[in-house]
């Protein structure tokens, strides 16, 4: 029998125990995978947007709209390549479902967000149709909207000139993201700013927030400072930050989610450590005479240590891989439903695998050392 075979054979001599231990490790890593994905989402999840874009908002808060008259001044700042602006529409679908919709200028949007992919005709149609709107793939699929549909969307903020808050837009385009991460962002709808600006009752000239594409990402800080300095002490003071910081700040507002998730992770891990650690200790205790025989047969202290460690590793890795696998599956299920951009991705897997290795050491080391230090005479005598 090979050494690997020996480890496996040992593992399965108590089938119930091994199965149960594997299952607890599995559930722990299932939870670990999901929670770590949430954690990533809230801490560094905005990484992929990079620093090529800046967001300029009113300093007092992004809900206070900046006026459109700032546009030429912002465009004139050296280092600014393209500028768009977007106004939150407060979209409501049917009875009470809030949707994320912005009013924006089609051509400017296309220039600032090359990550959104749509055919030329659709971009042109968006530009040419006053009552047009485009939506991301996820949103379109969720509500079954097709190009050519007239979609009734209400606003909980902006009435039309006649006082009615029921708007309707022609769906002229459905955009995709350039890669998987951007595809997850396709749950937003955009309407034509020119039409919105003219048709809403509150008057024109509100830009909302500005998004600027930089010629050189390294200049982000200088450009941001130049813009904020320009509007200092005016009624419309600005706060300019990278898109990444803006997104992180936005998510952070939901609360100390990261903190709570870390607490749960800690609780799960501690529990798990104890369960598996105890099982390992027990199985070594039961096998003391056997281990002594192995040593009598000439296996070195080192290889006995290896056997026990290998067993711990095997349990943690098999259970961990299965658990993370299920987490990935569930995460994709949640992610593709479009409600919550959850993804158990490479980054989560790396932490997961690190956790498996750490766990195997933590639970295996003590029993393994005990096995290594075993004195043959004492062990055989049952002392």
């Amino acid at each position: 029998m090979t050494k690997t075979g020996f480890v496996f054979a040992n593992l399965f001599r108590k089938k119930t125990r091994t199965t149960l231990t594997l299952l607890s490790v599995m559930t722990a890593f299932l939870l670990f995978g999901l929670l770590q994905a949430v954690n990533v989402l809230f801490s560094a999840g905005a990484d992929f947007v990079g620093a090529t874009r800046l967001v300029t908002q009113a300093r007092v808060s992004f809900t206070t709209p900046l006026p459109l008259r700032m546009l030429p001044q912002i465009e004139a700042v050296p280092g600014v390549d393209k500028v768009m602006w977007q106004q939150w529409f407060g979209a409501v679908w049917q009875e009470n479902t809030s949707l994320v919709f912005f009013a924006a200028d089609p051509q400017r949007m296309r220039a600032v967000y090359p990550e959104y992919v749509m055919s030329d005709e659709q971009w042109k149609a968006f530009d040419a149709t006053r009552t047009g709107m485009i939506v991301g793939r996820q949103l379109a699929e969720k509500y079954g909207w097709k190009i050519g549909d007239k979609v009734p969307i209400a606003s909980n903020i902006f009435p039309q000139k006649d006082g009615s808050k029921a708007w309707a837009f022609d769906l002229v385009g459905i955009y995709d993201g350039k890669d998987e991460e951007w595809q997850r962002q396709t749950n937003v709808g955009w309407i034509n700013f020119a039409y919105f600006d003219e048709a809403n009752q509150f008057g024109s000239g509100r830009a909302g927030t500005y998004t600027l594409k930089l010629a050189d990402p390294d200049q982000a800080e200088q450009v941001a400072q130049a813009i904020d300095l320009m509007f200092e002490n005016s009624p419309d003071e600005t706060k300019t930050q990278t898109e990444r910081d803006f997104n992180i700040g936005f998510l952070k507002q939901i609360g100390d989610i990261g903190l709570i998730v870390r607490w749960i992770l800690f609780a799960v891990f501690f529990t798990l450590l104890l369960v598996v650690g105890n099982t390992m200790a027990q199985s070594v205790r039961e096998r003391v005479p056997e281990l002594a025989i192995l040593k009598t047969l000439g296996f070195s202290d080192g290889s006995v240590l290896g056997f026990v460690l290998a067993e711990a590793l095997l349990i943690c890795v098999i259970g961990g891989l299965v658990g993370m696998g299920i987490a990935t599956f569930l995460g994709n299920l949640v992610g593709s439903s479009g409600n919550f951009p959850l993804a158990v991705d490479g980054q989560v897997w790396i932490t997961g695998i690190a956790a498996m290795l750490f766990m195997s050491l933590a639970v295996g080391l003590l029993p393994a050392l005990r096995a290594q230090r075993l004195k043959i005479v004492d062990a055989l005598a049952g002392r």
Binding site: S24, R59, G255, T271, L274, N278
Partner: protein, 391 residues
């Protein structure tokens, strides 16, 4: 039979200290499950009770039709006058209707120790606002003066955010505002900054109001008042009691946290069941001989099953109690904040209530039962002779 059960159970429980290691698995496992469950729901509970106690039943909140939150709403000066003068509004000694036209804007403040801003509600209020919310009490400094750029801040904001202490100044839209007072109310109002509505309007360049609150005679007066406003062709408004409005805001949060707590507890609970099974199987296995001896001298199968189940239950309950205690010590009254429906921070405290602890313990008992049942069966079914010969 009862005495047999009692005898074996006592034996089992007394021997627990000799095998702490294995029993600890159940205790710690259940402590983890119950602590996480209780803490998550304590958060939902705290949020809900904060918002629920904010609104009064005899105060009507009027918003523009279809706006659903104060932030989205907008009412003109004439409309506000119509709303306040409508029949049903209680009048004060000077025969003026008790009502407050209020305007909401959002300001970004830095949470202590953080660099990204959080949205805080700035509420421009009329003098009646204080009469409409008797729970609001200035505890430091004084109220703002009409016509000046002065703020009173809620206790929650002043604790958690920078620049909101008494005497400090906040910069909003190019002008400085002095914090002249701190108020307490024990509810969601504490998450806001209050200022004179006229000053706020001129600073933020707004003509109108976001909402109107009016005092009604009692909670039953709301229907008549609503009908009066709906009948007025000059108005297109939604009327709700203040309490309904705030309770409605907690729905999404409760649902989200409830779902999170459900999923996490279910998965952790499953893990704990496996761990408990493992422990109890091991406990039964190590005592195989002992149990067989008992059976041989005439103890029945049922007392053996019962005793194993009871042992598992006791361990689970101890674990559950430790978990609930942990949740209480670590989280009770912990102040946190999250986004409310006005897109601004609502500061609230975790609330570990007896009901939550009870539910946590029920979960512990259920897991303990499941974890004990199969091993108990195995123990009872063990053939006596084989077990006696083994080991």
């Amino acid at each position: 039979m009862l005495s047999q059960t009692a005898a074996i159970t006592a034996l089992n429980l007394k021997s627990i200290p000799q095998r702490w290691g294995a029993s600890l698995v159940i205790v710690v496992g259940l402590a983890g499950v119950v602590a996480v469950f209780t803490a998550l729901l304590a958060m939902a509970e705290g949020f809900q009770s904060t918002l629920k106690s904010t609104g009064r039943e005899d105060v009507a909140l009027v918003l523009r039709g279809g706006s659903s939150a104060e932030l989205n709403s907008g009412l003109g000066r004439e409309q506000v006058t119509l709303i306040k003068q409508a029949p049903g509004v209680v009048r004060d000694a000077a025969d003026q209707p008790i009502g407050s036209g209020e305007m909401i804007v959002i300001a970004e403040l830095l949470r202590v120790g953080e660099s990204t801003g959080s949205n805080i509600t700035v509420r421009g209020v009329e003098p009646s606002a204080f009469a409409l919310r008797p729970q609001v009490k200035i505890v430091e400094g004084r109220a703002f003066q009409t016509g000046l750029r002065e703020l009173v801040v809620g206790r929650g904001v002043s604790r958690q955010f920078e620049g909101a202490k008494l005497g400090q100044t906040l910069r909003m839209r190019g002008s400085d505002w002095t914090v002249v007072g701190v108020f307490e109310s024990g509810d969601a109002n504490e998450s806001e900054l209050w200022a004179d509505v006229e000053v706020a309007q001129s600073t933020f360049n707004r003509q109108g109001y976001s909402s109107v609150r009016v005092q009604l005679a009692d909670k039953d007066a709301i229907e008549a008042y609503k009908d009066a406003l709906t009948a007025d062709p000059r108005l297109n408004v939604d009327v709700e009691s203040e309490q309904e409005y705030y309770s409605g805001q907690t729905r999404d949060f409760r649902r989200t946290i409830g779902a999170l707590a459900g999923v996490v507890t279910a998965i952790m609970g499953l893990g704990a069941i496996f761990a408990a099974l493992n422990t109890m199987y091991a406990a039964v296995a190590t005592r195989a001989r002992e149990i067989a001896t008992l059976r041989a001298i005439g103890f029945g199968g049922l007392p053996v099953v019962a005793s194993v189940m009871i042992e598992s239950l006791v361990l689970a309950l101890i674990g559950g109690a430790i978990g609930a205690a942990l949740a209480f010590l670590l989280f009770n009254n912990l102040a946190v904040s999250t986004l409310g429906s006005n897109f601004t921070q609502v500061v609230f405290n975790f609330k570990v209530t007896p009901a939550l602890v009870g539910r946590g313990l029920v979960i512990a008992v259920v897991i303990g039962m499941i974890g004990g049942f199969l091993p108990a069966l195995r123990a009872a079914r063990m053939p006596v002779t084989t077990a006696l010969r083994a080991a």
